[in-house]
Structure formats: structure tokens, C-alpha cells
Symmetry: C2
Subunit: 230 residues, 2 copies
């Protein structure tokens, strides 16, 4: 039966943040072996009496000092029986989108540092965390085609140029701005404010807010967004 099973259960998180107009991910530096001094995803072993979700939220608080509202399960890595040199460990990975400017990172417990890294400039990662990060990026880029996500990465009020810039940073390729604007507006999920924001040398751009409640209602009804960017 299961008494002779010796598999350990960990959780890891890929937290995407948007900073300086670029997509970043949150990494911590390992305090202990077997990857002492290496950068890795925040994460760790699940306690017997906590849910997987509570476990990953706790690790993010402990190792990076951040509280994330919404974590989505990404994938469970457990096909490589030697992915951890200490023991057979499977990892249930999660991903999250946050506004990086809202948090002050603070490393503790198993982490000696916590830091945002631009996704095109990641250090070598411990374990199979490069693969987990890659999968999270692929998922994010796939999702953006059929769900208007990413608003969590921006400030509560944002301009259309800011939204376009975010989508460009996520997809890493230029988008057709006119089609994008028309499509996003057609979902009727943006609330116009009366405020404007000066953008560079151009004329001021209108500030919008995202209609979270309406979005959740649409998603619950099984609505598909189908956004094309090119």
C-alpha cells in the first residue's frame, strides 16, 4: 500500500511582476544546500496540515515578504524522479501576476535575498526551476489570447499606451495597436475615468480602470475572448 512510498511534496511559485516597462519574475537566493547561494523560485515543502495553496502562499510570505491574492496552479513536476538530489520530490507549481511596485521584498527563513529579475536576463536557476519558469511564461502568453489578463500587473488606473506596452512586454513582439484597442474596448471591460495622464511628449492619455466584477461574471458564464494581436 502506501507505507512504502517515500515521495516528498513541495510547492513553487512563478510570480510575474511588471517593472520599468518590462516583465520580471521573482527569485530568491537559497540559504542552504543542496543549492546554497543559487537563485531559485520561492517555494518549499508543504506541511501535513496545510493546503497546497496555503503552503505556497506561506512560502512567498516567508521567503520574499509578499502576500499574493491570486495564485493559479500551473503544473505538477514529478516525472523526473531525480529532479531533487536529496530525495524524490514532486513540485506543484503555481503562477501569479502582481504589481511589482506595490511590494517591498524582504528575504527570510530559507532565503538570503529576494529580487525581481527581467525575464530575458535570468541567472542560472536551481533544480528544474528554469523549466518551470519557461512553462509559466508559455502559459501566460497562451492565456493572453483568450483572457484579458494582465491588469493585475498595472496600477489601478492606467492608460491605453501603458496597456499596449504591457502586452508587448509579455508577448515580446509588436502588436497591432489599432486592432488591439478595438478588440479590448469591444469586451466592454474598461471603465473610463475623467482623468488624463501625460505620456512622454505626446498629448495626455485617458486613464482607465478594469471592471473586475464584470470580468468575473463573464468568465463564470463561460465566455471566450479570442484576442488576436497580429
Amino acid at each position: 500500500m502506501f507505507d512504502d512510498q517515500h515521495i516528498k511534496v513541495a510547492v513553487d511559485a512563478v510570480v510575474f511582476g511588471y517593472k520599468d516597462l518590462k516583465l520580471h519574475t521573482l527569485l530568491i537566493k537559497q540559504k542552504y544546500s543542496p543549492f546554497q547561494g543559487w537563485w531559485s523560485l520561492p517555494g518549499g515543502f508543504v506541511k501535513d496540515d496545510e493546503s497546497l495553496l496555503a503552503g505556497v502562499a506561506r512560502e512567498l510570505r516567508e521567503e520574499a515578504g509578499i502576500t499574493v491574492n491570486y495564485l493559479e496552479q500551473l503544473y505538477t513536476f514529478g516525472d523526473d524522479v531525480k529532479r531533487d538530489p536529496r530525495a524524490r520530490v514532486i513540485s506543484i507549481s503555481y503562477f501569479a501576476l502582481v504589481n511589482a511596485d506595490q511590494f517591498t521584498l524582504k528575504a527570510d527563513t530559507d532565503a538570503i535575498e529576494a529580487q525581481w529579475f527581467e525575464i530575458n536576463d535570468l541567472p542560472e536557476l536551481a533544480y528544474d526551476h528554469a523549466r518551470i519558469t519557461e512553462m509559466a511564461l508559455t502559459r501566460l502568453r497562451a492565456k493572453i489570447h483568450y483572457q484579458p489578463i494582465g491588469f493585475n500587473l498595472l496600477n489601478k488606473e492606467f492608460t491605453f499606451p501603458e496597456l499596449e506596452q504591457l502586452y508587448t512586454a509579455i508577448l515580446q513582439k509588436p502588436i497591432d495597436r489599432r486592432n488591439f484597442r478595438k478588440k479590448i474596448l469591444s469586451f466592454d471591460l474598461l471603465v473610463e475615468t475623467n482623468k488624463f495622464q501625460k505620456e512622454g511628449s505626446g498629448r495626455p492619455a485617458k486613464l482607465y480602470r478594469f471592471h473586475t466584477q464584470k470580468y468575473q461574471a463573464l468568465m463564470a458564464s463561460g465566455f471566450y475572448f479570442e484576442i488576436k494581436f497580429a
Copy 2:
């Protein structure tokens, strides 16, 4: 560290099959406690030296006598710490689409019976397996909007009416046949044969095959299908 963790790791599979023009799922009857005599998903504990995928494939062979080519990871259930009365057990769930007529079911090991059940007529299931089945159905119905899946459920050669009937059975609602036909043909993934099949009282319908290689190449290139049914 992890020596004081006592979480056990199981895998479970939701295998969808198409039989008598209806969508079915494969269930087994439990031989042992704590749900002796109950119907459940095929599945069980992972061995220390086998991958998760190898574990679920083995359980399907042992409990139902079937070999499934492609299993997709669905979700890891581990938030309810009491989902198994014996111990803290998390389950990595998988789903698969098969041609039910190709298999002869044969229960063994932990199963005393293996049987296809119509998805609208499932018995009460052990553990949280009703919830897992529900999530697999939701995933299948979501996926069908952006990937031309389901061909695994049919014979190698099929008619358009058969394909429409399958999609109707999966979505459990009528589809717009003309739009559906036009859309599916536009992907250029169906290969016309020179053969015809007599359908009921109507005139014979042309037999098609699915262009698996072309489909895989499209998917690998990040193509999105966007199929609307209504």
C-alpha cells in the same frame, strides 16, 4: 525539513470514451476499503521510482486493462487535507480521450470491475472523484473551443455527421452545423478519402481522416484555432 512530512502521492485518470453516440467515462469498482464496492476513477499510489505519468499509465493497465497513448495532466487535488480518510493524500489527476470501441476492459489488482458510464448517468463516486470528473469535463469543453480535439474518440475514418454528433455530445448542446463545418474545413486538417459511408436514410457521407502531423506542427507553432459553435 522534510523528514516530518507525511503526505502521500496518488494519481487518478479521467478517461473519456465515445460509445453509442454518447460521451462516457471509465470507472472501476474498488476491491478494498475505505471505499470497498464503490465506483471510482482508476488510479492509485505512485511508486518511488516511477514518473507520475508512468504511474497513471500503470494503474490504467492494472485496473482496467487499457493502454492509453496520451494522458494530459489536469490538476493536482491537495487543498482538502481530509480528501482521503486514511492519510493526507494528494492526487495528480490526468485526462485522456480514447476510442472506447478499441478496448476490451479487464479489471484486476485493486479493481473488481471496470466499466464505461455515460457522463450524464454516473454513480456516486468515491473520494472527491466526482469533482475531478467535473473538472475534466469543464476542461474538455473549454479546450474544444480553441483546439480541434476529439478525433481520438472517433474511428480513424469518420464522416462529418459523426464529427458533428461527437461535438454535440461533448458540449451537450446543439451546434450550428454550417458554421462548424466551414470552420473545421478552414483549418485544413481533414484529409478527404475516396470512401463514403451510408448514414441512416440520407445519402452516403464522405469519409475523412484527421491530419495528425499537420495538427501537431500547427500546435507547436503556437497557432490558435478559435472555434465558435453557436
